[in-house]
């Protein structure tokens, strides 16, 4: 069956450190992988998209890698801040289809 799995447990890190979140998928051949942030009581907000032929994408303090051989994406937040505390969702989009399928999400807590 198809699965998109993220760290099920919350990730606690110290302010200023780099947070690394993992997204693993099985039985998908995604054309695009996206990362979203969701705050409590709010809808998800898009952060980054990476294509299947891209290895890495950066945006300010965010970096995403995409390894289609390992079927894994890593999401990094450098110099983390308490304001980065949220749930982060990875999502897959299969080429030719518009719908986006979400992973289980990882809750990040940045401790001052």
């Amino acid at each position: 069956s198809q699965k998109i799995e993220q760290n099920s447990e919350a990730l606690n890190i110290q302010e200023g450190k780099t947070a690394t979140l993992t997204c693993n998928y099985t039985n998908y051949s995604p054309a695009y992988l996206q990362w979203y942030r969701q705050d409590p009581g709010r809808g998800p907000v898009f952060l980054l998209l990476i294509r299947e032929n891209e290895k890495e994408k950066r945006k300010e303090r965010l970096k995403v890698t995409f390894d289609t051989t390992l079927k894994q994406s890593l999401f990094h937040i450098t110099a983390s801040q308490p304001a980065d505390s949220a749930t982060y969702l990875c999502a897959l989009q299969v080429g030719g289809y518009q719908k986006v399928t979400f992973g289980t999400g990882t809750k990040l807590q940045v401790i001052p």
Partner: protein, 116 residues
Amino acid sequence: SAVISQKPSRDICQRGTSLTIQCQVDSQVTMMFWYRQQPGQSLTLIATANQGSEATYESGFVIDKFPISRPNLTFSTLTVSNMSPEDSSIYLCSAPVYQGDTGELFFGEGSRLTVL
């Protein structure tokens, strides 16, 4: 970008009743998606709503339980019919905004339903 408004933002409903959630987008979009997010869980796609055609439902979701309307390119409704406590959830509508061949999803704030 797109700004998506949903209402109601929350409601408490009685078992056996139905509730319609409205979703308004500030620009014309071809597709709209309805997701469900149960407490502590991730988002599960219910259906894709295209203007001018019937919605496409994902496995486990049926039109009789979740009828969807899409009367124009900026508006959609989702009805949760004959509700039971298991339907207590957050319902989110979303729309993709495309740049080239890729699209990012914009979401409404969600409608939190509690069924007693």
